[in-house]
Amino acid sequence: MEDARECLRDGVLNHLNVLEIEALELSRQQQLCLQQQSRVDDLRIMVDKLRAQKDQLKARAKTTMSLQQLKAVVHQRNEEFNDDISEEGCSMTAKSQLSFLMARKTQVKDLLQAHHLIGGYDVTETCRGKGVCISIATAFEGFYLETYNLELDVSRAIQICRHNIPPFIPLEKLAQVNLQTDLMGFLSTLSHHLNGFAGRRQQIRLIQEVLRDSVEVMESNVLFNTIVLMCADPEENGRAVLCTLEYSDLSRYLPTKVTIESEDKALPSTPQWKESQSLLLQTPAHTALKALKMKGQIA
């Protein structure tokens, strides 16, 4: 009460302010508490889960045998070759078979993973054998990029039911050529197209990321098969140099034609730039331009 009268002396508005601040503080603390409580709950659930997992692993370890034990079993079996199989022997053999099976299962899983990592098609059967789903992985210079998928109906003639391949890849045209007659050939061509596209796009991304200050991407299109890049001469009044890269083979990530243009008409014919022109034909754009920058040929 004393407090209240004191506060009232300062004015009602002031008092309301103080109350509001107190209320906010209390609600903040309450929220903090609730957060902590829910976090504790989550942690407890996590602990239970991990405990269950640990128990499972321990039980599994008990049923499998180490290499030593298996060697011992085989040795023993060889020795007791003619003996009748005793109760003990039965369970040991069963146990060793389990160990073999589990070990082989891990190995097969590892091999399947390896197939996936080296860019395999990851074939999966669907619809009880009537359909098949294929993944095509794309990558460029060590970076894994998108994975594209195709669902095929193989019950009668091979048909594509579903896919997530972008519409600017000429899928229909490629399918007309050899989808029915040579599935592997079709997939190979498609994979080359997708990897070519992914490679060209990645080069532009890398140029925009790494060479932001030296090279500007003036023009590009969805297929990234016509690119116009602008860079500048390192001298003071840095003349602009335009490099046009044309990729008429959509399955490749190297250009088929490189044109160098500049305000200075003589520049493209200098031996330096003639060399750069052939460099751009043989090396991916971002690597070539980086090299030019290091050499001091572009700003």
Partner: protein, 293 residues
């Protein structure tokens, strides 16, 4: 009242967090142990797994179901593996994985795979890194790559391989390896076919996996046609076959033919013949030409 509860909650948090860390470490250790164990078993008893699968020991009641499930699972996995091998055109025999670094946002693994693609053997070692970036995107990349290829066609592919190692283009390597092997196999089959069909006229001086097939009529020594079929791989994985015909003629014949500029126009007409007829028909035509004369 709120203030009294918070310290207890905090201590509980800490206790749980510590226990979680401990459990995670234990689990990781158990998993590692299990994996190592299994790998040892497989590498030691590799050949015996077939026997293990087919043998039917008496099981105690409890384990019988587990074994049956395991067998069915394994059968499905083996089917899958066979399917992948067929589709990918690559046979993998061994693979080893070592985890070098593992955290919530990054994992680094060292992989070693060995196998073969038709008749080229390979051993590929690569380091795989996966990083969890913001917005839950995972970036997967190869951070180290070493490739060893075995086989007499290795020379044609060696420049490509070193380029691929430099740029860490693992997938490009296998894509090109498959295409290259298929072309080599085609060449091999074609040469073998003609060797079988015309054993006296056709010679393979470099063996059937070589690049050269020599056509020579034993009745006309000194006149040989060497069919050279070169297959190379460019840096970006494009397979380039190059077929040339080398003719060796004895002096008198050469002088006579030279009057009609045959030797000079030979290569060009050969290339156009190839374009029109294709490889097999061209070889048949050459053999026919040698026989007639």
């Amino acid at each position: 009242m709120a203030e009294n509860q918070t310290p207890t909650l905090q201590t509980m948090e800490r206790v749980y967090e510590a226990e979680i860390k401990l459990l995670q470490e234990e689990i990781a250790m158990l998993q590692n142990q299990q994996e190592n164990n299994e790998r040892e078993v497989i590498s030691h008893f590799g050949e015996h797994t077939q026997r293990a699968l087919t043998s039917q020991p008496d099981f105690q009641r409890g384990t019988k179901d587990t074994a049956m499930n395991l067998k069915m699972e394994l059968e499905k996995l083996e089917e899958d593996l066979a399917r992948q091998t067929k589709m990918n055109g690559i046979v993998l025999n061994e693979c080893e994985v070592n985890t070098l670094e593992k955290s919530k946002t990054k994992i680094v693994q060292q992989h070693r795979v060995s196998g073969n693609c038709i008749f080229l053997d390979f051993q590929v070692e690569f380091q795989l890194t996966e990083i969890l970036e913001e917005e839950a995107t995972i970036v997967r990349s190869i951070t180290d790559l070493n490739i060893v290829v075995d086989g007499c066609e290795f020379i044609d592919i060696s420049a490509f391989v070193s380029g691929v190692e430099e740029t860490k283009s693992l997938l490009l390597f296998f894509r090109a390896l498959r295409a290259f092997s298929e072309r080599c196999e085609h060449r091999n089959r074609t040469f073998a076919h003609f060797k079988e069909k015309y054993p006296e006229l056709v010679r393979l001086p470099e063996g059937c996996r070589g690049e050269v097939m020599v056509i020579q009529n034993p009745k006309i020594p000194g006149c040989t046609l060497s069919f050279v079929w070169n297959i190379t791989v460019t840096k970006d994985g494009v397979i380039i076959p190059k077929i040339d015909l080398l003719t060796k003629l004895p002096e008198q014949a050469a002088l006579a033919l030279d009057q009609r500029m045959v030797a000079e126009n030979g290569p060009q007409s050969f290339q156009s013949l190839l374009r029109i007829l294709g490889v097999e028909a061209t070889i048949e035509a050459l053999i026919a030409a040698v026989c007639v004369e």
